[in-house]
């Protein structure tokens, strides 16, 4: 019989089979991820980051994600998303007997004492009676009520610490039916769950630091959340920080040696953006995000006052709300800057995009900003940034930076961007270019490498 060379089609088949062989050699890593938010139920950057990361990690890891709340539309191909609220209703009731619930219910009655170093929890519990949690009877039905505890609109809220504790117990419970080699927990709200599962299973724990209590409450803070972070960081097998800035904060305020911390900058999904003209005669400087002390609203105001003196044809747009919103509004009015400010309140995605497509300068005077995703979103729209040096975003963007309190410098930069077109256009082009290189795939590759080294050890 005459032997013919392999046909083209056979070659393709042969190629494909070697592909699948190599795929088998490098199986997906089994990862249990503990998150707090997931789209569409998001209130801040953490949900966006979790989504982007999980999506990109699918190439190298098999991910089970446990979050307090999930939505029927929360889904991602090849990722098992477990919302505690729904899981408790659906799974616990259905497979109730598979779980050993006794000790959990016992513990629930001892919440105030459970984390004794956790002063604020105790304080909180002593202040308000929560009979539904504290004196629930030992029934499965009570657990479904626990699940519904996460159903409210607020992912955080004033009873956040109780939620954190409940989540740690219930995530631990739900994780018993899951198969994984790595635990990956995001921010302090999931650290207790991570530690609990680590203690039970002995599996390596990766803590992903998106923000620290010292960012939120000031560098001097030493409260219960700080204590919790401190303890978790010491228990972790690996720590990921979203910026060099955060790595530095971990060293400065938590005594974590930098060599223990891997820096993995967040990514941003590329998307087409357009510039559009706006109806205002003035140029627009945009501040985007929660209006809280951490975001530096007083420096925003001081800077605005200085900019207006040298460049009157400008408006500062404040998009967002928060507990510092009213004071900002009042002070602006008091200083007769009302005309120079536009307060939009909270904007949905579409409105944010619209605003960014018209903005001339993006201004982020945060006191402490571990990453600052909004600066990258602005960069995607070709909006150059004037950013606090106490932030992570400027590590990946070519922005103009100053110390958060240096309002003279901020004002000088904003003036320059408004006044000198060559500068504005150069930074706009570079920002756009750099933002397109900050991808979740790059971040996921680094994270997968961290997983691999933990599994090998």
């Amino acid at each position: 019989m005459l032997l013919s060379p392999l046909s083209c089609r056979d070659q393709i088949i042969a190629y494909k089979s070697t592909q699948s062989v190599s795929r088998e050699k490098d199986p997906l890593m089994e990862v249990l991820m503990l998150g707090w938010e997931f789209p569409p139920l998001i209130s801040g950057g953490l949900g966006v980051a979790t989504y982007g990361m999980v999506k990109a990690l699918r190439a190298s890891a098999n991910i089970r994600l446990i979050v307090p709340r999930s939505h029927p539309s929360s889904s991602l191909e090849n990722v098992r998303i477990v919302g505690v609220d729904r899981a408790l209703k659906e799974e616990l009731i259905r497979e109730g007997r598979a779980y050993d619930l006794g000790d959990l219910v016992d513990d629930l009655q001892r919440i105030p004492l459970e984390l004794s170093s956790y002063h604020s929890i105790r304080a909180l519990l002593e202040e308000t009676e929560h009979p539904s949690v504290m004196h629930e009877s030992h029934t499965v039905k009570s657990l479904t009520q626990l699940g519904s505890y996460f159903e409210g609109h607020e992912a955080y809220g004033p009873d956040i610490q109780r939620k954190v504790y409940l989540f740690s117990r219930l995530a631990d419970l739900l994780s018993r039916n899951l198969d994984f080699k790595i635990i990956h927990a995001h921010d302090w709200v999931t650290y207790p769950a991570g530690m609990r599962i680590q203690a039970r299973t002995g599996k390596p724990l990766v803590l992903h630091v998106h923000a620290l209590e010292t960012d939120r409450a000031g560098s001097e803070v030493r409260n219960g959340v700080y204590e919790l972070e401190h303890r978790a960081l010491r228990a972790a097998d690996s720590i990921i920080a979203v910026s060099e800035y955060t790595r530095d904060q971990l060293k400065r305020h938590y005594g974590i040696p930098p060599h223990r911390v891997h820096v993995v900058h967040n990514g941003i999904d590329p998307r087409p953006t357009q510039r559009r003209t706006h109806p205002f005669r003035d140029k627009l400087v945009v501040f985007l995000g929660r209006v809280t002390r951490q975001k530096g609203p007083e420096f925003l105001l001081e800077t605005a006052q200085k900019v207006v003196r040298v460049y009157p044809r400008v408006k500062f747009v404040v998009a967002g709300t928060g507990d510092a919103f009213i004071p900002l509004l009042e002070t602006a009015a008091y200083r007769k800057l009302g005309r120079k400010f536009l307060f939009t309140g909270f904007l949905d995605r579409r409105r944010v995009d619209e605003l960014l497509s018209m903005a001339d300068v993006y201004f982020m005077p945060s006191v402490s900003e571990p990453f600052g995703l909004t600066a990258l979103e602005a960069a995607q729209f070709g909006v150059p940034g004037v950013l606090s040096r106490q932030s992570g975003a400027h590590e990946v963007l070519p922005a103009l930076t100053a110390d958060f309190w240096d309002t003279d410098k901020y004002a000088n930069y904003i003036y320059a961007l408004l006044q000198y077109n060559a500068l504005h256009d150069d930074l706009a082009r570079r920002s756009r270019e750099m933002a397109s290189r900050v991808t979740w795939d790059a971040a996921a590759a680094k994270i997968a490498q961290i997983y691999r080294s933990l599994i090998l050890n």
Partner: protein, 406 residues
């Protein structure tokens, strides 16, 4: 015979002080006297004075057989006169030996040849006057800022009466020929072009202390040996470099002064070798071929082009803006405004705005006092904005005065 031709560049810019938008319209004093004084003091003590002492010693020891050339910018001379007259005195002592030639250049170390021939000639004249006044010499050979060069410059200098010009020894212009000859531009067979031997020059200027370099450590006998190998295949060896190579870029601890101290003896060991200054080279050696350069070239970076000064949109914007004021500045009757404007033409200001290698952090950063090229641009533009304001006021004043006299 083969002649070694040393030329050293001496330059200091008038650095700007930190100038924010709030100063525009109020503060018309742009230059950072403290920083300029500090830098000059440092360089004077680390380089100019010790290097000058050594050059004088070598000239005396070799009884006129060691000969060198300098190009010193007007801004550097002004700063020496103001902050360190002892440095001027030491250069004057060198000038008196008769073994030192001073070259012509633009007073403000500017890119004026590219933007305004009128301003270029004004600055070259001013520089010549300064050299004549201080060193009693009239330069006959020209070196343009950062060895920026093309055929057009050579032709223009020829009409100005210069005998020759220094330039970078560009591979593409030499096209396989040796840099160790005098060349001529297309327009003339007698106007001399002296190309830098960049390999041997950079061995001293950049690689001398590089421990990763195969030839490290570089000794005077080794270097002299390389020079001697040229015997029979070249008539000149042009060693062009920043004077700060001695003591500032290469620290004394690297042995750079000891190297220099021994080098003339080693080179003169060979009876067919001597030292000449550029005008002596031109007098002795005929041109040996055409050197054809259309686009502007320079001695900077790997590109050897203008991209270090006018490579990005910020630099273009800044330099075009400052030159756009020329007509008004010159028609106004204010020597102060003219002086300030001219100081802002110094190429260093645009070099600080270079973003070429910014993200990597590199040689440009070493030479800049700004954290980022953007700072450099913003500071410069704020100053120019104020200068425009002053100019406008001056013009109004003059217009009013004219009305009154009528």
């Amino acid at each position: 015979m083969t002649s070694v031709c040393f030329y050293f560049q001496v330059h200091q810019p008038w650095r700007l002080k930190s100038y924010s938008c709030f100063q525009i319209g109020y503060d018309h004093d742009y230059f950072d006297d403290a920083a300029n004084r500090t830098v000059l003091n440092r360089v004077a003590d680390k380089c100019y004075l010790p290097a000058n002492r050594l050059m004088l010693e070598l000239i005396r020891r070799h009884e006129g057989r060691f000969r060198i050339a300098y190009s010193i910018t007007g801004t550097a001379l002004e700063q020496m006169e103001r902050f360190r007259p002892d440095v001027i005195a030491s250069f004057q002592e060198l000038a008196e030996t008769g073994c030192v030639e001073f070259l012509a250049e633009t007073y403000y170390h500017s890119l004026s040849f590219l933007y305004s021939r009128e301003e270029f000639m004004r600055q070259v004249r001013a520089h010549t006057e300064k050299i004549e006044a201080l060193f009693d010499q009239t330069p006959v050979v020209f070196r343009n800022t950062e060895l920026i060069y093309n055929n057009e410059l050579a032709a223009f200098l020829d009409t100005m009466g210069y005998k020759g010009v220094l330039c970078e020894g560009l591979d593409y212009a030499l096209a396989g020929r040796s840099p160790n000859f005098v060349y001529h531009p297309p327009h003339s067979s007698t106007f001399a072009v002296l190309p830098k031997n960049y390999k041997l020059s950079d061995d001293i200027a950049f690689r001398f202390s590089d421990k990763g370099w195969q030839q490290w450590p570089l000794t005077a006998p080794k270097f002299a040996h390389w020079i001697h190998q040229i015997a029979g295949n070249g008539e000149i060896v042009n060693l062009f470099m920043d004077y700060e190579t001695f003591g500032e870029h290469q620290w004394p601890e690297t042995g750079i002064f000891d190297f220099l101290r021994c080098l003339p003896t080693e080179i003169l060991h060979h009876p067919d070798f001597d030292f000449l200054t550029p005008s002596e080279v031109i007098a002795r050696y005929p041109t040996r071929g055409e050197y054809d350069v259309h686009a502007f070239s320079s001695w900077a970076d790997l590109e050897r082009d203008l991209s270090a000064w006018i490579g990005n949109s910020l630099q273009h914007d800044a330099i075009e803006r400052i030159y756009s004021l020329e007509r008004h500045i010159k028609s106004s009757d204010s020597p102060e405004l003219l002086e300030t404007w001219a100081r802002l033409l110094t190429s260093d200001h645009f070099y600080y705005m270079c973003t070429k290698y910014w993200q990597d952090g590199d040689v440009h950063k070493y030479f800049s006092h700004y954290d980022t090229p953007y700072e450099g641009y913003i500071n410069y533009m704020n100053v120019v904005t104020d200068l425009e304001y002053l100019l406008e006021r001056q013009m109004q004043r003059e217009a009013q005065a004219q009305l009154q006299t009528q």
